[in-house]
Amino acid sequence: TQTVSQSDAHVTVFEGDSVELRCNYSYGGSIYLSWYIQHHGRGLQFLLKYYSGNPVVQGVNGFEAEFSKSDSSFHLRKASVHWSDSAVYFCAVSARGSALGRLHFGAGTQLIVIP
């Protein structure tokens, strides 16, 4: 069974705080891992993706994520959040060799940043 788990439905922080959004997966075979952001009323936008190599990947707007094979995790982090980072964040997994959009998504984590 292929699953993507985002354990926190909501995370609330103050502007300037650091934040970590958690993602754990259960997936057989070789995979790609990615994060997407969805602002209210909009479609998803790509943040970053991990293929292989350096387990820490850098994305847009100061986001980074770290892959851990031992923990089956791909947590998203940002050192200092801005109010505009308030959005829903989705972790996604896809099998290598499949179409890029053949993704399995987590349920999402809503990040609320208090100014």
């Binding site: 009323g41 479609g43 998803l44 890029l100 959009g101 987590g106």
Partner: protein
């Protein structure tokens, strides 16, 4: 930036109704996708296509048909709509952007089946 346009933005129909959701991309991408988004589930893939005339089944295809008429246009069809198909539908295309392959999403279509 690559563009994916969905229409309509909102649609209300009745149970048993016939609905067509439209998606157009002007990015010359081969792949296009239809997802539905429901609370607690994230996005789930309904159908996808890698070119005109091609159709691939996704993870939740029951009750949906799709047709890729051209490189640009991908339609999702609900021929006998049911209340369980009330959802937010997203179309996406995939291709290269500044050297990286990535997905580009439309703004979504909110469908209500009464």
């Amino acid at each position: 930036e690559a563009a994916v346009t969905q229409s309509p933005r909102n649609k209300v129909t009745v149970t048993g109704g016939n609905v067509t959701l439209s998606c157009r991309q002007t990015n010359s991408h081969n792949y296009m996708y239809w997802y539905r988004q429901d609370t607690g589930h994230g996005l789930r893939l309904i159908h996808y296509s890698y070119g005109a005339g091609n159709l691939q089944i996704g993870d939740v295809p029951d009750g949906y048909k799709a047709t890729r008429t051209t490189q640009e246009d991908f339609f999702l069809l609900l021929e006998l709509a049911s209340p369980s198909q009330t959802s937010l539908y997203f179309c996406a295309s995939s291709g290269r952007d500044r050297g990286n392959e990535r997905l580009f999403f439309g703004h979504g279509t909110k469908l209500s089946v009464l």
